[in-house]
């Protein structure tokens, strides 16, 4: 089981819930299962999110392996200058 925390706007979309427990061996599976657990999040997940795994921010690496030991935080998608 993965522990996934939400950041930013995602919290509002999830009806105030900030933490979820979902299955998944990588980011793609985790996001898919999160969307099933909390359908209100689905539009945001489709739009794209960044995922911080142990402090490292991943924008697109869907196959990044995840385990129960990881700190996983969903963040809004970022753009830079």
């Amino acid at each position: 089981m993965l522990k996934v925390k939400l950041g930013g706007t995602l919290v509002n979309k999830a009806g105030g819930r900030t933490e979820f427990e979902v299955e998944g061996a990588n980011i793609m599976q985790m996001l898919r299962n999160l969307g099933r657990t909390c359908p209100e999040l689905e539009p945001m997940l489709q739009k794209g999110v960044s995922v911080a795994v142990d402090g490292q921010i991943y924008r697109d690496a869907m196959l990044q392996p995840l385990g129960p030991e990881n700190e996983i935080i969903l963040l809004p998608r970022m753009a830079g200058g």
Binding site: G7, G8, N12, G55, Q56, E71, M78, A79, G80, G81
Partner: protein, 771 residues
């Protein structure tokens, strides 16, 4: 052999990296030979010009182009009808490049012409008749959030009932909203970050400081206006030469807007005359392509400076409230903020990133940040160097400066006491790995500038700053030439000397001379997709991909040497620019140099090349601490920056001169933001200062030498420890200068820019309160 892409072998000793050779594109740039966006020309090209709305907000009732079309020499006139909406395109970008029914800001494109020369094109623009119905407008972020504000996009954004939300008083300008909320609003998004319980935290505080702050919009101010030349042939094949930070982005977005297959559009980036985030989207490019498609001839479009100011993307203006509580010993116990950023006529202001960066420098147990993304009748904001971060840092670092004063603490000590370090749970969520904020603070404290004695009307300011740094999609190819030199093809546009850094890293990895590698920026048909040169990602990502591409090439070269020697491939190692037999074969054969391998390449299996494609991750964040001394003239309110110090963590400086250059350039852009620069709107909502005379960027005589210290706390995500450096340097200056002014004359600046009249008014306020 540590050639495996997954082995994090952090190199710590270098031969080429860390030296300061001349850049490979340097001679072209000092002789005028380098070709920038507007320097490109095609035979038979037409001149394209764009007609822009003179109103801040207006219904477009009709557009009559018949007289313009009839003018001799005019080859095409287009309106939004010539760019029909395609399924799946970004509607906001589509509407931004050409108004569809409503002009949303002063300068919004309404129509465009292509003619045989500029003179005819100018005449044609005057012949286009647009019938406008002027609507009420709003350009201020706080005004735009009021219930009675003119709504830009009726039906799009739901109203927000502030009375139920945290810190409602700071959202709606101190007045709780009691009236019925309107049907629609200009609030495009609301974002919350943080952890712990700030309300409880403040109860433990010995001192609490809270204030409201405002910053005006500023423009990136790149000296090269946007320019492109488009050529669409009758079979739908198209080419585009353009100054952009992201040629692949331009290709994909233009193809999507114009309904083209991506393969039909080839984009070649020119040299780029500055971007700072402002060239990370499209403005004129799809228009030039649409004009060329209609005219059947190449079309060149170059923006005037006035168009750049009115119609490209400045950054957001911001209205903010920040509250921080601290114990007597300086420990922060709680922090709270409301940030409101307007991002022009479309959603997407960088308020989320401003919110994430706001308190990122500090270890806080109780922190909350609420951000609002607001639309107004201004041009759609674009990224500007650490988008969103300088504004929130201005407010946060200003409050910290005041807390330090109240507690009688040194400005660096209070930051050291609360500084984020490895293991700190950041205010935006993730836990930090190895980061260098403490090191920058210590280096700033030890620097000679921090010990200079100050005179009358002089003051010193300190501020720290943070930026995430990006990585992303990156492709690199390296080809071994017949003589053993190398051709390195990069997909990230070189804005500030990155080709030199890539050549240094390739030379380091191969153990050869820097001069033996030549880097080019490839067009979009020559490499796989590369993300935009943005987010301080280039030296990290393209550097990583260059190192990995070279390692790929080394494996292949070692393979050739193995074949020549007749020994197994894994019995060959690469050292000092040559393949060496290793293990039990060590010493059995003389090494084969890169030149010898290159000479025999054809006879031993064909040309040799290495390549690497990745969606890179692992860019380490970069922290900075700035120290600035100013002198204020109490009679005029004018201010002089006496000394300025930038200390920043670069992870590893590949070419230290260009790292220093990023530090210095960012600092001076920040100084401009705090002292002079602002978008100034008239009552009618039109921009009043769309030129460099009235929008005053810092000139040479405004600033002193900018002292720099490069801190190197290696980023474990890069083989050489590189962190991006381009953006963090603009985060601290706003607060740094404001804190210095406060220490000089006792006036706390909470509205930017701190132009002389504002400083003078504040001084008079202080004098009056003392009287």
């Amino acid at each position: 052999m540590p050639l495996d892409a997954n082995t994090p072998d952090l190199r710590t000793e270098f031969k080429s990296v860390g030296t300061r050779p001349n850049r490979p594109d340097g001679v072209d740039k000092v002789t005028g030979r380098a070709r920038f966006g507007a320097d490109f020309a095609l035979p038979g090209q037409l001149t394209g010009l764009i007609l822009r709305s003179p109103h801040a907000h207006a219904k477009i009732k009709s557009i009559d182009t018949s007289a313009a079309e009839a003018l001799p020499g005019v080859k095409a006139v287009i309106t939004y009808k010539d760019i029909p909406e395609q399924e799946g395109c970004d509607k906001d970008v589509l509407v931004n490049i050409m108004a569809r029914g409503t002009a949303l800001y002063d300068g919004h494109a309404v129509a465009a012409v292509a003619a045989v020369d500029a003179s005819v094109a100018r005449k044609a623009l005057k012949l286009i008749k647009v019938d406008y119905k002027v609507l009420k407008h709003v350009t201020d972020v706080d005004e735009a959030m009021k219930p009675d504000a003119p709504v830009l996009h009726p039906g799009r954004f739901d109203p927000v009932d502030f009375s139920t939300l945290e810190n409602a008083a700071h959202v709606s300008g101190k007045e709780e909203r009691k009236t019925a909320t309107p049907a629609h609003s200009n609030i495009a998004g609301r974002y919350v970050f943080g952890h712990g319980d700030p309300d409880k935290g403040f109860k433990q505080a010995d001192v609490i400081v809270e204030h409201e702050f405002k910053t005006e919009a500023t423009h990136q101010g790149y000296i090269e206006p946007h320019a492109c030349t488009a050529s669409v042939s009758s079979d739908g094949m198209a080419e585009l030469w353009v100054c952009t930070q992201g040629p692949f982005m331009v290709r994909d977005v233009c193809a999507s807007l114009l309904g083209m297959d991506v393969s039909r559009l080839r984009v070649t980036p020119s040299e780029i005359g500055g971007g700072f985030g402002g060239k990370t989207t499209v403005f004129i490019e799809p228009v030039a392509l649409a004009l060329s498609r209609k005219a059947g001839k190449p079309v060149k479009v170059v923006m005037s400076r006035s168009e750049v100011f009115r119609a490209t993307g400045p950054t957001s203006s911001a209205s903010m409230w920040v509250k921080i509580g601290a114990k007597k010993d300086g420990t922060f116990v709680a922090a709270d903020a409301v940030l409101k950023y307007q991002g022009g006529a479309f959603p997407g202001s960088p308020v989320e990133m401003g919110a994430m960066c706001a308190f990122a420098c500090y270890d806080l147990k109780n922190v909350r940040i609420v951000g609002y993304d607001v639309v107004t009748n201004r041009p759609k904001q674009a990224a500007y160097r650490a988008p969103g971060a300088p504004m929130s840092a201005f407010a946060v670092e200003g409050v910290i400066g005041e807390i330090a004063d109240k507690l009688g603490m040194d400005a660096i000590d209070i930051r050291l006491k609360n500084a984020a370090k490895e293991g700190t749970v950041s205010s935006y969520g993730p836990t930090f790995g190895p980061v260098g904020l403490v090191e920058t603070l210590e280096a700033a404290k030890a620097h000679k500038n921090y010990k200079v004695k100050l005179g009358k009307n002089q003051g010193r300011g300190v501020a720290s700053g943070f930026w995430f740094n990006f990585a992303g999609n990156t492709c690199v190819s390296i080809n071994l030439n017949v003589d053993g030199t190398l051709a390195l093809a990069l997909g990230t546009v070189d804005i500030g000397g990155s080709r030199a850094s890539m050549c240094l890293m390739a030379a380091e990895e191969l153990g050869i001379s820097y001069e033996d590698v030549r880097a080019v920026i490839a067009d979009t048909s020559s490499l796989g997709y590369n993300d935009i040169s943005e987010g301080s990602r280039v030296t990290f990502s393209s550097g990583l991909a260059t190192i990995k591409a070279v390692r790929d090439l080394k494996v292949r070269m070692c393979g050739r040497a193995a074949k020549i020697w007749g020994i197994p491939e894994d019995a060959v190692k690469w050292e000092n620019g040559a393949a060496h037999p290793a293990g039990s074969n060590a010493g059995n054969f003389p090494p084969l140099s890169i030149k010898e391998i290159a000479a025999q390449a054809s006879a031993t299996g064909g040309p040799l090349a290495g390549h690497y494609e990745i969606n890179a991750e692992g860019a380490g964040p970069s922290f900075a601490t700035h120290v600035c001394d100013v002198e204020v003239d109490p009679d005029t309110g004018a201010m002089k920056v006496l000394r300025y110090l930038v200390v920043q963590d670069a992870g590893k400086a590949i070419h230290p001169s260009y790292v220093e250059g990023q530090f210095q350039g960012g600092a001076v852009q920040g100084i401009g933001w705090v002292l002079n620069e602002e978008y100034f709107y008239g009552k009618d909502g039109t921009l009043q200062n769309a030129g460099f005379l009235d929008y005053r960027v810092p000139v040479c005589s405004d600033v002193p030498m900018i002292d720099t210290v490069i801190v190197e706390v290696p980023n474990p995500g890069h083989p050489y420890g590189v962190r991006g450096v381009g953006e963090t340097s603009i985060v601290p200056p706003l607060a740094c200068v404001a804190n210095a002014v406060s220490s000089a004359i006792g006036v706390r600046a909470r509205t930017l820019p701190m132009s002389p009249p504002r400083v003078l008014a504040a001084l008079e306020g202080v004098a009056a309160s003392k009287a």
